[in-house]
Amino acid sequence: MDDNIRSREIKETIDKYPEVGRILDEYGIGCVPCSVGSCFLSEVVGIHNLDPQTEATLMYRIEKAIYPDRDIPEPKVDMTRKPTQKKINYSPAVKNLVEEHVLIKRLLAMIPSITDYVETSAEVDKDLIMGCVDFIRGYADKFHHMKEEDILFKYVDEQGEIIQVMYKDHETGRNHIRQVVEGTESGNKAQIKEHLLGYRELLTQHIKKEDEILYPWIDRQLTDTQVGELFQKCSAADASVGEELPRRYEKFIIDLERKFLKEVSK
């Protein structure tokens, strides 16, 4: 493929050729909704760890979509190859981060019920909303995101676009929560609803990107020595906040589920 396409910002390519966005989507590469979109196509495809055959076919289809008139040799499909769909094997520290996502997702699952409740009750239940804000700030942000930002992301090029997107998501999340707090203080239900739902949408995509793409990509680059070191650093970070903190937040979620949960989505 033309280096021109490979090293052009993905957003620019998708805007110009929407078909490219649709093709990427078909391969489970979700660049279209990404807010930054300044990754290069080569970087985007590389990070998804497709098997060479799939990657060749994908690149062929993209090139075809951009230059329909060009004579591009079709990649030969080797039918004897099995698809390389393997279960992801996270290194232990990364696995713990994935497990923390599960608790965060339990809150995300309840957000629509919470915003419905806020809308229909006479007065904004400040304790409820501020409890959620405390979970988001204390657990999702301080406890979890800080390990990503201060420890995990240091193992790869932090200036790389992909990590920059993650930082941007964390920041956008913090802005949503500031708005939720503002809405709670002024009793503005619409503001609470908009930003809690916005946070939910953001974090759902963010966690999916981390679980399926970013974390496995980082893991693939770590040496065994780094895996051990990363594990010790994360354990030390956990120890510094104490065992009580994650337990307290888990209890918060369990109590909230008693009140709001119709169905647990893990």
Binding site: Y90, P92, A93, K95, T225, G228, F231
Partner: protein, 154 residues
């Protein structure tokens, strides 16, 4: 040894035609310590301190052509056979001591694909369970013809 054990079933792959590239030149050994047998090593030996450790089933390095280059390099090693070695409680204690006293960074357990060889992973896990420190443990399963069947953190 019982005949029903698949681990000792006789197989011959001398017919294998693909011999790989004819190699020239000399390679360096990546071994940086002695002794290596798990009964003989002291878990407090300086070569274990804070290192990444390989716990290797005896048969593995014979099957795995690039053992030195791909696995031993940069690591310290202990070897044993979970089927034939005696006093394996000592092994469990030594693993525990490697983790707690020598503060090893990671432990990679390399075994053959035959069922009884997985006993070495059980030994490693038992030692790790007894230890108060926690460390990442990886399992690598090697096929009889030297292929890597799986490699994962457990």
């Amino acid at each position: 040894m019982s005949d029903c054990c698949p681990g000792s079933r006789t197989m011959d792959f001398s017919e294998k035609t693909d011999q790989g590239d004819t190699e020239t030149g000399q390679r360096q050994s990546q071994l940086r310590q002695w002794p290596i047998q798990l009964h003989l090593v002291s878990p407090q030996a300086p070569y274990f301190q804070e290192k990444d450790i390989l716990l290797v089933a005896d048969c593995v390095p014979f099957a795995l052509a690039d053992f030195h280059k791909d696995y031993l390099k940069g690591k310290s090693i202990a070897i044993g056979c979970p089927k034939l070695d005696s006093d394996q409680e000592v092994y469990v204690e030594k693993i525990k001591s490697l983790i707690d006293d020598s503060k090893i960074n990671t432990l990679t357990v390399q075994i053959m694909q035959v069922p009884c060889c997985s006993g070495l992973v059980q030994v490693a896990k038992a030692g790790a369970d007894k230890a108060t420190r926690k460390i990442p443990i990886k399992q690598v399963v090697v096929g009889l013809e030297g292929d890597i069947l799986s490699e994962e953190w457990i």
